[in-house]
Amino acid sequence: MNGRLERSALSGVLVREVVNFSSFWKSTTFSSTVQPTIYLVAFGFGFGSLVSQVAGYDYVDFVATGTVATGVLFSSVFPAMFGTFVKYQFQRTYDAILAAPVDVEELVTAETLWIAARSGLYGSVPLIVGMVFGLDPAWGMLTVPFIGFLAGFGWGSCGILIAAIVKSIDGFSYVSSALLTPLFLVAGTFFPLTSLPHWAQVLGNFNPLFHCVQLVRHASFGWQGWSDIGHLAVIIGFGLVMWRLAIVFLQRRLID
């Protein structure tokens, strides 16, 4: 029963998210800022004392830009997974929203847009933290919040999809250890894919997070022409596919 997306339905769901966010923004902002700082400090000083240059970048620059993707992932897929599950299973929030003139398609779209906006914002924090540790500002970095938004849209949808599929909240353990951890490590965040065996490099190319990392690095240190269009296309394509799948599966879960 997919119709068109009505603006008033989207804004209704968004208002709910924004008003709720006003009651927990402090903890979210704290963790989104502290987490990348820890990664930067740990990897920057830890590995940074062993290697000064990686793939032609200063290691601090390499990690600061890589951590953007980590920040985007952590502020999209996890809140989406837990938020969605809690809202339909424990708080029964979706029962109330879907009794209003809002369809599942609008519900998913609005919630994902909100997660994407947060990801764009919080995903950019590592760049600012990186600047404290010596990352040079660049004009291209102004596009990073938009890259974070697009990637966050895909990962947010992915989180909703996961929540719509798992039978119980314990299912999240399998997903985060077997799927999300490798995706997060094999993305060129802390070490370049080129240091991995060939098969892992090939697999890495299918990792949407890898394309996000590449795009952020190129935005910060110099665009790479067509290959960046390719990275952007992968991120957008991933987002569109996940968005539609999240709608189909959540619809199945919520409507008997």
Partner: protein
Amino acid sequence: MSHGLAIRLRGVVKRFGEITAVAGLDLDVPEGTCVGLLGPNGAGKTTTMKMLTAQAIADEGELEVLGHVLPGDSKAARAQCGVVPQLDNLDVTLTTEQNLLVFAHLYRIARAERRAAIDWALDLANLRDRRDTRVDKLSGGMRRRLLIARALVHRPRLLLLDEPTVGLDPQVRQELWALIDNLRSEGTSILMSTHYIEEAQRLADTVTIMSHGSAVAVGPPAELVAKHAGAEAVEVYGPPARLTEVEGVARAQGLRTRRTGTSIAVLGNGHGLDGERRPANLEDVFVLLTGEEIA
């Protein structure tokens, strides 16, 4: 809408795999009336309520809500309905007012009218001095009132109440009954599912008794009592052996009986039985029609 019905269901069927939750249900809610949907647990009440907001899709049959055909036009119908769920799903970290504000947006109240709508709902639920209180600091009764206010903030034409007073103490229950009765007298159509007989008897203009997914009796409470249970009943108390004996005697006389747990109620005048005489009531009808066994 020519037929003057807020809700019209014909031959509605809903299956979950092997189980048929709703089996050919007909249900009418005339505009401006309160209809009680009465039935034991598992009779299909909740599934019926979910179908009215298209959160469950019927396998067969016709569903019309406020003149809109479901599930296709469900969104237009939902915009004019208010729903009070059985389980409290308020946003507990938000204040009373924020909860109403969110629903004022979800139900598309125009910006200029939002403030007034929220104030009106706060007054209705008698929560004006709690507008800035977080929901997790409200009492159970206040939360229920807020749940109802939230369903009414956009002044719906039809109110769907799913077990509105379950788990509440008698004072709070009476308070909610007054609120619901008031809404009905102002012309709001109401469908209320309940398994509290007294609630249906006090509030409902007509009652539909459901059993195993379909309507087994429909009518005003008093008529149902007269038709199915007669004028009076005799209630006989005693030890289990005595109750079994009375049951045998009554049945031998062709009288209908039902167990109430501590007594046995014999419908009709029960000549010669030593017990308390009382008028027959809706509970007698309910148990007679839906059976004594617990599914």
